[in-house]
Amino acid sequence: MSHAKNQAERIREISGVNPLKCMKCGKCSATCPAFNEMDIKPHQFVSYVANENIEELVKSDSLWKCLSCFACVERCPRDVKPGKIIDAARQLVVRERGGNYLSADEIPELLDEDTPQQLLVSAYRRYKR
């Protein structure tokens, strides 16, 4: 298995998403609050994984622009969950770099009752770079 294929498979595995279910409606990009900040747009995440173009994807700034608000996950009519894909791509990068970016003792001060847990988990990988 080629490296790209392997990585695409990893993303599919981590995210639990089948990119082939995408019908290319673009609702994810339509719904994304961080759209303008992104170089690769949410609907493209899916096709990057489908086309196994992971190298480009992980270089993308979008990885760190995504707010993990999961609006795209909520609204995707095909259950493709682009937000999960980007999250998986982040993990891929993090795993390769070998560490989290937020240390455990920093968490309490960040905690807020309304903070979705998912955001915190994502934050582990995004901040303190």
């Binding site: 673009g26 609702k27 994810c28 990009s29 339509a30 994304c32 609006a71």
Partner: protein
Amino acid sequence: MQRIGVFVCHCGSNIAATVDVKKVVEVIASEPGVVHAEDYQYMCSEAGQEKIAIAVREKKLTGIVVCSCSPRMHEATFRKAAERAGINPYMVEIANIREHCSWIHKDINEATEKAVILARAAVAKVNLNTPLTPGESRVTKRALVIGGGIAGIQTALDIADAGYKVDIVEKTPSIGGRMSQLDKTFPTLDCSACILTPKMVEAAAHENITIYTYSEVEKVSGFVGDFTVDIRKKARFIDADKCTGCGACQEKCPSKKTPSEFNRGLGTRTAIYTPFAQAIPNVPVIDTEACIKFKTGKCGLCQKICAAGAVDYTQKDEIVTEKYGAIVVATGFDTISLDKYDEYAYNQSPDVITSLELERVMNAAGPTHGHLERLSDGKAPKEIVFIQCVGSRCSDDRGKPYCSKICCMYTAKHAMLIRDKYPDVNVTVFYIDVRTPGKNFDEFYRRAVEQYGVNYVKGQVGKVIPQPNGKLLVQGSDLLDNKQILKEADMVVLATAIEPNKDVRKIATMLTASIDTNNFLTEAHAKLRPVESPTAGIFLSGVVQGPKDIPETVSQAGAAAVKVVGLLAKDKLMTNPCTAKADELLCNGCSSCANVCPYGAISYEDTLVNDHGIRETRRIAIVNSALCQGCGACTVACPSGAMDLQGFSNRQILSEVDAICR
């Protein structure tokens, strides 16, 4: 023990070249039960069939085995020959020694040996055959159509024109259905009412058609050719025979605040009402939940005003019981609920409407008298956004997994009509794919773009945000430009997915018709029997079978009518005698068989049985041989072996197995 005659066919050289026919005759002649064996050039010929007749006469045969070509070819021929010779046609079995033997084997010894074994298996089976007689059931020459929309009306008209009585049962106070709510129809843009109303009138006036409006099917029993149906005629509180349809009652009715079902809740109606002006019958009904008389006991204005004295507050629901030979389900569709689609702000802004609501807005008889205006403030919109595929093609639980099929075309229609009538209004359509298969359909869509300048944007809308200034901010994708678009619109129209009418599952259960996970009724065969339900005598017309537009609905309605007429034209139905049958002494009444029966042919009755001296009442499976098609699924589901299939019985098949393996 049977007296069996075996007839081995040469089929010219087709069989004889590879199978030693004489040897087969010689070997098979000594099989138990075989009293006659001979060979002949062409068994299917006149002369060959005569040989069977002679042998039956002279050897007093009770069973026949023909070793020849496939039974799919000549089984019917030899059965008829047997019947002419005076023995039951089902005492014939075919050993297929051509397609399954001589044509595929080259070695004559091998082929001969196999032919003998196949013949033996057939002999073993015939030994256990029993004479079978196709059952006969009478056909009530009357059809029932459930649903009075265009599908039901067309089916009823076609059946009635063929000379058969047909009843339409419609749940609402008038026939007409969804089509009566539409303004214009694609791709010709003619007025819906103009083409539908004459059909409604024709149906009402047809001597062979009886229309039960404001009525529902309550109970169905029986089977193909002989259904008995209870129809509940809900009390209208109006004596239809006296009512002249003058409308005075509706004018005077003081209860005017009920949302109008016909106008999709966009306008109001009175408590005593006909849904729309051209309603058929033109007899109002009283909505007891809105009527002041019914709620408080006071009022009674309509009764006072009615010159014909037609208003009768004491009217009760009535049950009509009628017999039918065939039932057509034409219950149509509704749009799905948008409660789960918060992102489109449908429940937040009156200016976000469904396409079906837009039909009412555009219609001269609608809430805005045909003026395109915002429902919030009555202002003329300048910017309209259409969103396609709302709830269609969704694999989540908010929408439907299928394509609703009609939306692309009606959205093009709406866009075109608006641009035609209000050239200063900008129309944007967000689409995923534009699907326009159909005669003149793609041309129609292209006209919307090329001639009328409708702005089609490839991409879905993510969110509609009502603004403080009353505008709607539409946030969507333009996938071709790879941009996120923010557009301020005055109105947003949602091409909402359609789904089968809510009542259809209840009706399907009554009819024992199979239904799929999306609540569409299942066809007997997806390709070859698209207008029939697997349950005999039940037919499908219109969207109840799957999403379709008007021309398709009308074609299918006609097809269903032809199937019904084909059935009603028969005086009696010959039923396949190879049906399942339960041995009442072995049956446990456990329902396993009924669970696997695709035709709902199995029911249970408490039956008094005499089991070797023990008399008791037991729950016993009863197979309705008119419904059973003889698949045999039940025979394997039955653990006790009580259920068996005539013509392919357990013992018969086991005897074939034994003969082949010995």
